[in-house]
Every structure is written in structure tokens, then in C-alpha cells.
């Protein structure tokens, strides 16, 4: 009998599994920035999780109250540095609605094109980090190849790879060089699709990847609504909510596209929704280039804008979900209150629910699927 063995027997009888608390982060490479996670573990199983955020809290909302509306654009860029154009657009839409500024037709097309391109680069970054979280270095190296190509276009047309400061109230800063646009068209039509096919071959069919993602951290639509989850995470559980369709802005209603949804609600569904969204976004950007009308790109707006008194809340489909700008104006050149409803903040707040009961190695797979950006969460 094994119990009679002097060591094993006693261990089996007296051993008690105590739960331990494991601190992960804030300085940790898999944390996508400075994020701190307290996990209560029983063996390898997560009993409870408590995210600690705020390590990158820069006080953007307070700083914005000390800047003019145009200067705030610099802060808006740095809110979510992976989907800058979406942020700028949401902010511009809020101010344009508040100050009743018209946007020229061509500017709307340009904005839509940039927003969809940045959605591609954002999802590429997510694709790379998902691979990294699951222990593979290859996807991140591969994801940077198309990302750099699109960044080349951004830099040539707006002057900066990451922080463009390109959108203006009532349009965009300047028109795009047609030669650049043509080169981008050629790239989007062929090479980007090839690259996405390559990613599918690299990861999507991979049996190890599939078995780690399938059925992981399932979420229902009701749960997602209750936790405030939006964006691709919400669409992965079967909801069709997409602000690009529900509250049409830009030229989305004139483009031929469909919102990507999945019904499974697990980590694999989130993966597949984002992978398909990349293709849809590339398709939309292509259509924008093809159908874009000529014309003005900017209406004349006073350099120091003084919107009338009032408040506005604008919802925008950013790459991570519903991005809201709540601006209160008191008629002065500086915002009275500048509030950002950041999608990743709400998505990450669902993390304790999602990873309760999971294994510790699954935690990173769940965490990577949320696609969080700490700068946007902490603001």
C-alpha cells in the first residue's frame, strides 16, 4: 500500500492545498503594458482575479481642461496609440456636433479610409501579441511586415508613423497625394490579402492554437451587456451591435461591407471575428480609394474654436469597441469637461469574470483576446 510508505503516505494524508496569491505585473512582458493582476490560485486554477490598473494614468482628462480644443488633439492621439485615427475621428465628431461644423464630402471618405486602415494595423498588433501570449514569437514578427507598409503610407501622407495629428475640426489637415493613394491601392488589393492568408496558414489552422482557444472563457450576450463589453468581443458572442451600422457616420452606409459576428462567444470566436474584420476593413479602405470623390477636404474653422455652451456625448466604433467622448463646453476656448469612455477599460473590467476557474496558462490566452491597450484604460 502506498499510504504505508513513510513519506508519501503522510503527504497524502496531511497535505492541504492552500490558495496562494500571485501578483503578475506591473512590469511583465505579457501584460501589454503596465498592468497588474492579482490572482488567487489553488494549485493552477484561478479562484479569483483582481486587476489593478492606473500605472499609466497620465491625467489626460484634467490636462485637456487646460488646453484649447485643437491642442487636445495631441492628447487624443496618445489615448490609444494603436488606433489613433479612430480616436481623432471620434473627438472631431464630438466637437463638430457641438459646434455644428459641416465636413466636406471628400474628408469623410478620407477619414473612413484612415479609420479602416488603422483598424487593420491595430488588429495586426493584436494578432502579434496573441501569438506572443501563447508562446509563439513568429506571429509578432510577421505581423510587423504589413504594419510597416501601412505605416509608410501614414508617414508619407500625415507626417508621422504613430501620432498623426491629422484630422481637423471640419475635415482633415491636407489632401493625400494621388501617387501615394495608388501605391496603397496596389498594396491593399494584393499583398495585404496575401499576408492575411499567410497568417491564417500560420496560426488559424494550427491544432495547438485551436485546442488552447476553443471553448475558453465563454461569454453570452447578456453577460456582455451587463459587463459593458463592446466591440469585437461583443460581436463574438452573437450580438450584431456595431456602431458603424447602428449610428451611421462617415461613409459606412455607402460602402459594401458586413459586420463580422460569431455565435460561440469563446476566445476562438474573438480571434476569428478580428481576423475577418481585418479583411473587411481592407476591403472598405479599397472601396474608399476607388470611389472617393474630388473636392475640398477642409472647411474654414476659426483657429481658436469656441463651441457654444452645451454638452455632447458621441459614440464611435473604435477598434476595441465603443469609444465615447463626452465634452462639456462653457463657451470658452478650452473644454470644461473632457471625458473619454474607453472601450478597453470596460472590456478589461470583465476579466475577473472571464478567468475565474481557468488555469493560469489559460489566463494569458484570455487576456490576449481582450486586446487591451493600457494607455487607453488608464488614460
Amino acid at each position: 500500500m502506498i499510504e504505508d510508505h513513510p513519506r508519501v503516505g503522510r503527504l497524502q494524508k496531511d497535505a492541504v492545498t492552500e490558495s496562494i496569491v500571485l501578483n503578475m505585473g506591473p512590469q511583465h512582458p505579457s501584460m501589454h503594458g503596465v498592468f497588474h493582476m492579482q490572482l488567487e490560485l489553488s494549485g493552477e486554477t484561478i479562484l479569483a482575479a483582481r486587476p489593478v490598473i492606473g500605472y499609466l494614468h497620465r491625467g489626460i482628462e484634467k490636462l485637456a481642461e487646460h488646453r484649447t480644443y485643437a491642442q487636445c488633439m495631441v492628447l487624443v492621439d496618445r489615448l490609444d496609440y494603436i488606433s489613433q485615427y479612430c480616436n481623432e475621428w471620434a473627438y472631431c465628431r464630438a466637437i463638430e456636433r457641438l459646434a455644428r461644423i459641416e465636413v466636406p464630402e471628400r474628408a469623410e471618405w478620407l477619414r473612413t479610409m484612415y479609420a479602416e486602415l488603422v483598424r487593420v494595423t491595430s488588429h495586426l498588433m493584436w494578432f502579434g501579441s496573441v501569438g506572443l501570449d501563447l508562446g509563439g514569437w513568429t506571429p509578432v514578427i510577421y505581423a510587423f511586415i504589413p504594419r510597416e507598409r501601412i505605416f509608410d503610407f501614414f508617414e508619407a501622407t500625415t507626417g508621422s508613423r504613430l501620432m498623426p495629428n491629422y484630422l481637423r475640426f471640419g475635415g482633415v489637415k491636407e489632401d493625400v497625394d494621388p501617387a501615394e493613394m495608388e501605391a496603397l491601392h496596389a498594396y491593399l488589393a494584393k499583398d495585404l490579402i496575401d499576408a492575411l492568408d499567410e497568417f491564417d496558414g500560420l496560426v488559424t489552422g494550427n491544432e495547438i492554437f485551436l485546442s488552447r482557444q476553443r471553448g475558453l472563457a465563454p461569454m453570452t450576450v447578456d453577460q456582455a451587456h451587463a459587463w459593458g463589453v463592446t466591440g469585437p468581443m461583443l460581436r463574438a458572442c452573437g450580438s450584431t451591435r456595431d456602431l458603424r451600422i447602428d449610428t451611421p457616420y462617415g461613409v459606412y452606409d455607402r460602402l459594401d461591407w458586413e459586420s463580422c459576428t460569431d455565435t460561440r462567444g469563446d476566445a476562438l470566436a474573438r480571434y476569428s471575428v478580428r481576423m475577418r474584420e481585418m479583411r473587411e476593413s481592407a476591403k472598405m479602405a479599397l472601396q474608399c480609394i476607388e470611389r472617393m470623390p474630388a473636392g475640398e477636404v477642409r472647411t474654414k474653422v476659426a483657429r481658436v474654436l469656441r463651441p457654444p455652451e452645451g454638452e455632447v456625448y458621441v459614440r464611435h466604433e473604435s477598434t476595441r469597441g465603443e469609444l465615447g467622448f463626452h465634452i462639456v463646453s462653457d463657451g470658452s476656448p478650452k473644454p470644461y469637461r473632457f471625458r473619454v469612455r474607453s472601450p478597453a477599460f470596460m472590456n478589461v473590467s470583465s476579466l475577473p469574470h472571464l478567468c475565474a476557474g481557468a488555469k493560469i496558462s489559460e489566463f494569458f490566452a484570455i487576456f490576449g483576446g481582450i486586446d487591451n491597450v493600457m494607455a487607453e484604460i488608464d488614460r
Binding site: E61, A226, W227, G228, D246, Y313, R379
Partner: protein, 143 residues
Amino acid sequence: MTVDLEAVAAAHSGRVDREGLDPAIVVPRETWRQLAQALSEAGVWFSDLTCVDRGETVEVVAQVCASASEQITLKTVLPNRDLTVDSLWPVWPGMDWLEREAYDMFGVSFVGHPDLTRILMFDGFEGYPLRKSFLLETEEKAS
């Protein structure tokens, strides 16, 4: 699905403010949670919660969606000397972090919140940064 704003506001001794760009339901703080409860039962989901410091008072502002495209603003006004309001956490669990943030930045206490601690700033931090009375050490602009 649409919500009859006037009826909902009247049922919770509030009023509908249509002056702004979006309609807003303004209720006294006593009926804040009941209003949310009633809306939640009507299938409304939430989108955001924040505060606006108006000097003498602090407004608690929640953005909710009645349908995919219909958006309603809920407001309640708290006097500066007594910043307490019922938590909406029992109605919408996702309000958890939003209310913690409002507490951290404005010092509004949400009664009934399970874990009302600072979320963005560290625990030893003093003051509520987004209040207008909290001043930044701004550099003097050269001119």
C-alpha cells in the same frame, strides 16, 4: 424599442431636459437607482458613467442606450457638501469600475458599491483630481 422619456421621468419625480443635443432625464438622487432599475427592466443597457463638477454641485451623468441607435442621458445633481448617491452596480454589474473611477476622480461615494477604492491613482493620493478645486502645477506660458 423606444422608451417614453416623459413617463419614465414623471414616474421617478424627475423631468426631461431637451435643451441639449441629446435628451436627458434629470432625477433627484433618491430615485437614481429606481430609475436605472426601471430602465434596465425595459431592456436598456448602459454605456458610460461619469461626473461633471459644476462648482457648487457635482452632476453624475450616465449614458444609456435604449436601442442600438437611441441614446439617453441620465443625470442627478449632488450638492458639494454631501456627495453620496446610490450605486448602480446592483442594476448593471459593469458599473463597478466606472463608479470606482468617479469616486477616485471626484470623491463621489456610491452607496452599495462592493469595493469602493481608488482605481487609477495610488491609495495614498490626496485629493480628487478632476474637481475644479484641484489645481495643477502648470508652468507659466512664456509670452
